[in-house]
C-alpha cells in the first residue's frame, strides 16, 4: 500500500494533471487481456445488432428433414432438433445474452445505487432499518428467489387481454420473447451488493471536508447528494457493475436452461444447451457450439471487467 503511493507520487509532480477518467482509460488501453476482451465484446455487439443481416437463416426457419443435421457446407454448425440452423440461432442468441447483461446491469445498478445513496445519506434510524432489510435479504438464496419470481411473472402475466396495465406488460413481454420479465427478475434480485457498496461509500464521502464546505455555503441537500456525493460514489460502483456483468449473463442462461427464461422459439444459449445435452451422445455439436459461445462471451467480459477494475480502482483486490 505504502510503496505504491511513493511510486506514483514521485512522477505526478512533473506531469500535467489528468482527470480520473483519462487516466483510467490510458491504463485500460495498455492492458492486453482487457483489449482482447473488449474486441470480443465489440464483435458480439455487432453480431447482436446485425443478427438479421449476418445470420444466414432466420432463427425460426427449419425443415424437419434437416433435424439433427451435423455440420456441413450449407449449415456450418449443423442443425438442431427441429432442423433449424444452429449458427443462426447462436447469432440471434447473442441478442438475448447481451440484453440481459446490459438491461439487467442497468436495472440493478439503478435500484442499488439509489437505495445505497438514500440509506447512507439519510443515516441514523432510516439507514439502520434499510440496511437490516438488506442483511435479511442476503439470507435469501438468489437463484431460489429468481425462480419464484419468474414463475410468478410467467403465470400472472400470460395471456391477459390488452388495455390494462398488466395487459400492456404482458404484451411487451410476449413481443420480447419473454425477455422483459427476465430483466425485471435480475434487477429485483441482484441490487443488494451494489446497495451495500454505495451506502458504505456514501457514509465516508459525506463526512469529507468538501461536503462540509458545500453544506456551509448553504447548498440544498438534494444538490449535495447529486452534485457532490453521487459523482464520488460513481467510479467504484461502475467497477463493481462491470465485474458483475458475467453474473447477469449467467442468470439469463440459468433461467432459460431450466425453462423459466425466454419463450421458444426465441433462441437463448442456455435453452440451446438444455435442448442439446439430452441428444449429446450422437449429436455433440448441439452442445459444443453453444458451450463455446457462452464461455467465450463470459471470458471476454471477465477480462474486460478485470481490466476496468485495475484501471479505475487500483486499490481493490480480488
Amino acid at each position: 500500500m505504502l510503496s505504491s503511493h511513493v511510486v506514483s507520487g514521485g512522477r505526478n509532480k512533473t506531469r500535467k494533471s489528468r482527470s480520473l477518467w483519462k487516466d483510467g482509460l490510458r491504463r485500460l488501453s495498455r492492458n492486453g487481456a482487457a483489449i482482447i476482451g473488449g474486441c470480443i465484446v465489440f464483435a458480439l455487439v455487432i453480431l447482436a445488432v446485425g443478427a438479421g443481416w449476418i445470420a444466414p437463416y432466420h432463427y425460426t426457419d427449419g425443415r424437419v428433414i434437416d433435424n439433427y443435421l451435423h455440420p456441413n457446407g450449407e449449415h456450418l454448425m449443423g442443425c438442431d432438433f427441429m432442423g433449424r440452423d444452429l449458427m443462426s440461432r447462436l447469432i440471434y442468441g447473442t441478442r438475448v445474452s447481451l440484453s440481459a447483461a446490459v438491461v439487467g446491469a442497468f436495472t440493478s445498478f439503478f435500484i442499488g445505487v439509489s437505495y445505497g445513496l438514500i440509506s447512507g445519506f439519510a443515516g441514523g434510524k432510516v439507514d439502520n432499518a434499510m440496511m437490516r432489510f438488506v442483511d435479511i435479504m442476503y439470507g435469501f438464496p438468489t437463484l431460489i428467489l429468481i425462480i419464484l419470481l419468474m414463475v410468478f411473472f410467467k403465470s400472472t402475466f400470460s395471456n391477459i387481454e390488452p388495455g390494462t396495465f398488466r395487459g400492456a406488460l404482458s404484451a411487451l413481454d410476449a413481443r420480447m420473447g419473454g425477455m422483459f420479465f427476465i430483466f425485471v427478475g435480475i434487477g429485483i434480485t441482484s441490487w443488494l451488493g451494489m446497495a451495500r457498496l454505495v451506502r458504505g461509500m456514501t457514509l465516508s464521502v459525506r463526512e469529507k471536508e468538501y461536503i462540509e464546505a458545500t453544506r456551509a455555503i448553504g447548498a440544498p441537500k438534494l444538490r449535495i447528494l447529486f452534485r457532490h456525493v453521487f459523482p464520488n460514489v460513481l467510479g467504484p460502483a461502475i467497477v463493481a457493475q462491470a465485474l458483475a456483468i458475467p453474473g447477469f449473463i449467467l442468470y439469463e442462461a440459468f433461467l432459460s436452461f431450466i425453462g423459466l427464461g425466454v419463450n421458444p422459439p426465441m433462441p437463448s444459449w442456455g435453452m440451446m444447451l438444455s435442448e442439446g445435452y439430452v441428444a449429446m451422445r450422437s449429436h455433440p455439436h448441439l452442445v459444443l457450439f453453444p458451450a463455446i459461445a457462452i464461455s467465450l462471451t463470459l471470458f471476454a467480459f471477465n477480462f474486460l471487467g478485470d481490466g476496468v477494475r485495475d484501471a479505475f480502482d487500483p486499490k481493490q483486490v480480488g
Binding site: G139, I147, T156, M280, S295, F299
Partner: protein, 305 residues
C-alpha cells in the same frame, strides 16, 4: 464471544421468517393451484382436496400452521406425490444434494487455495500466468456448459465414469467437478490477490527480520491472514454451490432436491417448495454464521463485540 454467538444465532430467526413469508406469499400469489389438470376435476372433488390439505383456510392460518409444523420438524404432506410426506422426500433427497454440495465445496476450496498460493508465491512466472489463465477459464465456463462437455468426454467417449444417476463414489466425480470448478477459480484468484497484499505488510517484514524461516513466514504468518477474504466469500459461495446443484442434478440425472425444486414450483406443491426453500436458506445462514465465527481464529486482531 458468547454474547456475539447468541446474537448471531438469534439473527437466524428474522431471516428465516422473512424468507418463509416471502416464499409463502409468492407461492400463493402465483395463479393456479395444485389440482389444476388438463381434464378439470369436478368442483366437489377440488373442494374436498382443498379441505383435506387445509387450502381453504385463510392464508395467515395456513402460514401459522405451516410454521408451527416447521419448528416441530413436521413438514406436512406433499400434494403432488400423494403417498409421501415432505419429511420422506427430504430424507431421501437432501443427503444426495448435501453430499454433492460438500464434495464440490471441498474441491473448490482446497484446489482454489492451493492454486492461488502457488500462483502468488511464484508471482510473474510462467506458473503464475498459466494457473491464473486456467482460473479465468474455469470462471468463464458455466456449469451448464461444463457438465455436458465433461459428460461427453469422460463418460460417453472415454468411459471412465458413469454418465448419470447416483450411488457409487464414481458417480460423484463428474458432477462435483462440474459444480466446483467455477468456485475453485474464484477462490484461486482471491487467494492470490490476498496473499500478494498481505506479503507486503509490516509484520511479514518483522517476521523475516527476526530470522523466521521463509517457509514458515509464508505458511504461518502470510497464508493464515491471507485466508480472511477467502473465508468471507466462502459463505456466499457455499450458498451458490447448493443452489447451483439444480443445474448439475438435471444434467447428471441425480435424485437430489435441486432437480425437484423447479418441478415442485410448477406443480404448486406448496409444502415441498416451502420446505426446500427454507432448507436452502438455513444452509446459507448457518454457513454465514460459521464464516463470522471463523474470522477470530484466523486473525487474532479481530474481536467480537
Amino acid at each position: 464471544m458468547i454474547t456475539f454467538l447468541i446474537r448471531r444465532i438469534l439473527w437466524v430467526i428474522p431471516v428465516i421468517l422473512l424468507v418463509s413469508i416471502c416464499t409463502f406469499m409468492l407461492m400463493h400469489a402465483i395463479p393456479g393451484g395444485p389440482f389444476d389438470a388438463e381434464k378439470a376435476l369436478p368442483q366437489a372433488i377440488i373442494d374436498n382436496l382443498n379441505a383435506k390439505y387445509h387450502l381453504d383456510d385463510p392464508l395467515w392460518k395456513q402460514y401459522l400452521d405451516y410454521m408451527w409444523g416447521f419448528v416441530r420438524f413436521d413438514l406436512g404432506p406433499s400434494i403432488a406425490y400423494r403417498a409421501r410426506s415432505v419429511n420422506d422426500i427430504l430424507s431421501d433427497q437432501w443427503p444426495v444434494t448435501a453430499l454433492l454440495g460438500s464434495v464440490s465445496f471441498a474441491i473448490a476450496i482446497i484446489g482454489g487455495v492451493a492454486l492461488g498460493t502457488i500462483s502468488a508465491f511464484r508471482q510473474n512466472t510462467i506458473i503464475d500466468y498459466s494457473s491464473m489463465f486456467i482460473s479465468m477459464l474455469g470462471l468463464s465456463i458455466p456449469n451448464m456448459a461444463l457438465g455436458p462437455l465433461l459428460l461427453w468426454i469422460f463418460a460417453l467417449n472415454l468411459r471412465w465414469f458413469p454418465p448419470a444417476t447416483w450411488g457409487t463414489p464414481a458417480h460423484v466425480v463428474l458432477p462435483a467437478i462440474t459444480l466446483g470448478t467455477a468456485f475453485m477459480a474464484s477462490f484461486a484468484r482471491i487467494t492470490r490477490a490476498s496473499i500478494l497484499q498481505v506479503i507486503r505488510e509490516d509484520y511479514i517484514q518483522t517476521a523475516r527480520a527476526k530470522g523466521v524461516r521463509e517457509s514458515l513466514v509464508l505458511l504461518k504468518h502470510c497464508l493464515r491472514n491471507a485466508l480472511i477474504p477467502v473465508v468471507t466469500i466462502a459463505g456466499p459461495s457455499f450458498a451458490a454451490i447448493m443452489t447451483g446443484s439444480m443445474i448439475v442434478e438435471r444434467i447428471f440425472a441425480i435424485p437430489g432436491i435441486g432437480k425437484y425444486y423447479v418441478t415442485s414450483v410448477g406443480n404448486r406443491d406448496y409444502p415441498v417448495v416451502m420446505a426446500m426453500t427454507l432448507i436452502f436458506a438455513l444452509a446459507v445462514v448457518v454457513m454465514n454464521l460459521l464464516v463470522d465465527v471463523s474470522y477470530g481464529f484466523l486473525d487474532p486482531r479481530i474481536r467480537y463485540n
